[in-house]
């Protein structure tokens, strides 16, 4: 009798525990993101801050209760910019259940892209990877989500056109690191040079770009009206210093997205006042998203890195990456329901429509055709202390950009 009572009591306890735990386990559904970066080799200048921004935004969402009962887990590892290590990490990440990957490295992302397409796993490639991945039909599981290098080059030239009364007859110098990344905007620049009747001359310096003096002597003698600088990390610092040393007016220098507060501190904050860059996210802390991170993540001691980095340009890029990715997750859960799979996340991302972040980044609209998100960017200028916007968010010459992207994507689809 006593045994029977004990059994009944145990069964009741188990049933109660099951009932109590059921909603809890549902609330703790975990969505895993594989955020594998190059922390030790080439992309070190951006990886730490970018990754911190990603992790802090996911931590913020978790602190705020997650999305529809789902919490986010960032799996963070180093691939050292080596495609083989990237592939290993990708395979491990898949085994661990990750449904979104971001490698922040063009060679690694390019090696993963065919696998992600085959495995139907979402590969985010904001500010890196293939330019033609914006063509959703050819790359259904690859999502650049922000203005590609082609769109960035186009936006800078549009700014010159708008502020100088046209591009006709202008002399534009493109000074770039001699890598595929540095050469990437060339097709767009060459097409626009033909269309808009401006003169384009390119100047390449060898990687990693720590010595550029001969190149800048040549640039100075060319007497360009505007100079585009296309490098990353310390090569940008060297470019700006050499330009100034050669008497080129900083206001005539326009940079790719990779030029930050840190770079300007290294150049000397007052050395190149007036230099401009293209940007796809608002830097600084004066935005509700960043304020929420400071309040709910850093005040509770859960930040993924030094608080001083919060609001830096690369940090905010990392936050923006996660804002878009998790918006896709939210839409997928709302429209398609749990469990959240890679296929549903892809569909959710393609439902992102006019994502309004109150100025943190341009409105983002991703469709099954357009994975770039609209390609909007703006130009900002260094005032000696901070980057100040000097244009509105806008997409430029997208007809030329898409023509190039479709031609390149067609070659990829044909296996060329």
């Amino acid at each position: 009798m006593k045994n029977k009572s004990m059994k009944k009591f145990s069964a009741a306890l188990c049933a109660a525990a099951t009932l109590m735990l059921a909603p809890a386990s549902h609330a703790q559904e975990v969505v895993k993101f594989g955020l594998f970066h190059d922390f030790t080799k080439v992309y070190t200048f951006v990886a730490d801050e970018f990754s911190q921004g990603q992790r802090d935004y996911l931590a913020l969402l978790n602190e705020e209760g997650g999305i529809k009962g789902h919490r986010f887990e960032a799996i963070v590892r180093d691939h050292g910019n080596e495609p083989q290590r990237g592939i290993e990490l990708y395979n491990r990440g898949r085994e661990e259940g990750a449904i979104y990957f971001d490698f922040l490295s063009t060679p690694v992302a390019n090696a993963i892209a065919p696998r992600a397409l085959q495995d139907k796993v979402v590969l985010g490639t904001p500010l890196h990877g293939r330019g033609d991945a914006m063509v959703g039909e050819a790359f259904p599981y690859v999502f650049p989500m922000m203005a590609s290098y082609w769109s960035q080059a186009a936006r800078l030239l549009k700014y010159v056109e708008d502020t100088q009364g046209g591009l006709k007859g202008k002399k534009i110098a493109h000074v770039h690191i001699d890598t595929p990344f540095g050469r990437e905007p060339l097709p767009i620049l060459q097409k626009l040079a033909e269309q808009k009747s401006f003169e384009l001359r390119t100047f390449a310096y060898p990687s990693p770009g720590n010595e550029q003096s001969a190149v800048w002597s040549d640039v100075r003698r060319y007497r360009p009206d505007f100079v585009l600088i296309w490098g990353a990390g310390n090569s940008q610092t060297v470019s700006v210093r050499e330009a100034v040393r050669n008497g080129i007016d900083p206001a005539k220098i326009l940079s790719v997205v990779w030029l930050t507060e840190t770079d300007m501190k290294n150049v000397g904050e007052s050395t190149a006042i007036g230099i401009k860059r293209v940007e796809v996210v608002q830097p600084g802390r004066d935005h509700p998203i960043i304020q929420r991170i400071l309040d709910k993540v850093y005040k509770t001691g859960k930040g993924a890195g030094p608080e001083a980095r919060v609001g830096n340009t690369y940090y905010n890029y990392g936050v923006a990456d996660m804002v878009i990715a998790t918006e896709g997750a939210k839409l997928a859960l709302e429209k398609l329901g749990p469990p959240l799979t890679a296929e549903k996340l892809k569909a959710g991302l393609e439902m992102v429509n006019n994502l309004d972040t109150k100025g943190f980044m341009p409105p983002v609209t991703i469709t099954p055709q357009d994975h770039q998100g609209g390609g909007q960017a703006r130009v900002s200028q260094w005032d000696g202390k901070a980057w100040v916007p000097v244009s509105d968010w806008a997409a430029a010459y997208q007809d030329v950009v898409w023509e190039e992207a479709r031609a390149s994507a067609a070659k990829f689809s044909q296996g060329k």
Binding site: K41, N210, E211, R221, G233, N234, T237
Partner: protein
């Protein structure tokens, strides 16, 4: 031909080449004392740059105190490498020791940014960016000072090898066993040579760090430095000087005219061709000593 353009490329190339010599100097110092080609010198330059930045930015020491402080640190660092790594390799084939230095290069490249953060650091020597303009030729002031410093350091190194200690180091380089036999402490001599290479790295790290900032790319200076020692002769201080000038001038003048035609990227090609041609035509370099082994 625009003569002024050629002259500007030549002068800036000469200065840049002597800056490469600063890095190459550390390789030659170790080779002259121990017979080991040190492939970790690029990373040692990077570490010296990081330490100098940290001493100024984090400890708040002024530059004139920070430099001698880091000189001491890097001398000790060089000694430590010899004591904890190289000494264990006594009796091993030279190839394995070279591989060890390569492993050390890779290790330090990761450790430096890992400890000090990967973001590039500013190292301001107060040189300013205004160029020295002579007859419309723009001369990079920082490189000019770097070139003069390189010349001075190479002269000092040459003078050092004429001292009693320097003579001991040369003896050790010639023959470890014979040096032991006459009572020279070979381990100590090699340790000192690594310490001196650490000191040379401070010169290179300081000047290159001021030009480009301090980050992992300082270690990439190993490649032009290797070209300098191969061309000039790895055991020759005169070779370091002349080799640096040749690598710098050719790496500036040829790309200056060729890059606009072929679309860029010829400087590394020039450096690579120099390495290959030197090895094929004069394996010991212009001023290197040809060792004859009698069997």
């Amino acid at each position: 031909m625009d003569f002024l353009f050629l002259l500007e490329l030549f002068i800036n190339g000469l200065n840049t080449g002597l800056m490469y010599s600063l890095v190459a100097l550390g390789i030659t110092m170790i080779y002259k004392a121990s017979g080991v080609p040190n492939l970790a010198q690029g990373a040692m330059v990077m570490i010296a740059g990081y330490l100098l930045w940290a001493t100024i930015a984090l400890l708040g020491l002024p530059l004139w105190i920070a430099i001698p402080f880091v000189v001491v640190l890097m001398f000790l660092f060089g000694l430590a490498i010899e004591r904890w790594l190289l000494r264990r390799m006594v009796g091993q084939p030279v190839l394995m020791i070279v591989m060890l230095t390569l492993g050390l290069e890779i290790l330090l490249r990761g450790v430096g940014p890992g400890v000090f953060d990967a973001a590039p650091k500013r190292l301001d020597l107060g040189l300013g960016l205004a160029p020295l303009v002579v007859a419309d030729v723009f001369i990079n002031r920082a490189y000019l000072i770097g070139a003069i410093s390189a010349g001075i350091l190479i002269l000092l190194a040459a003078a050092f090898f004429r001292t009693r200690l320097g003579t001991k180091l040369r003896a050790v380089s010639d023959d470890h066993v014979a040096s032991w036999a006459v009572g020279i402490s070979v381990e100590r001599a090699i340790g000192i040579s690594w310490g001196i290479a650490g000191v040379a790295a401070v010169g290179a790290g300081t000047l290159w760090g001021s030009v480009q900032g301090v980050d992992w790319t300082l270690s990439a200076l190993l490649f032009p430095a290797i070209a300098v020692v191969i061309l000039g002769g790895i055991d020759s201080l005169l070779g370091v000087f002349v080799g640096g000038i040749i690598v710098g001038v050719l790496g500036s003048v040829i790309p200056g005219y060729l890059d606009p035609i072929v679309g860029g990227g010829t400087r590394d090609v020039v450096t690579s061709v120099l390495i290959v041609l030197t090895i094929l035509l004069r394996p010991y370099g212009i001023f290197g000593r040809e060792d004859i082994e009698r069997v």
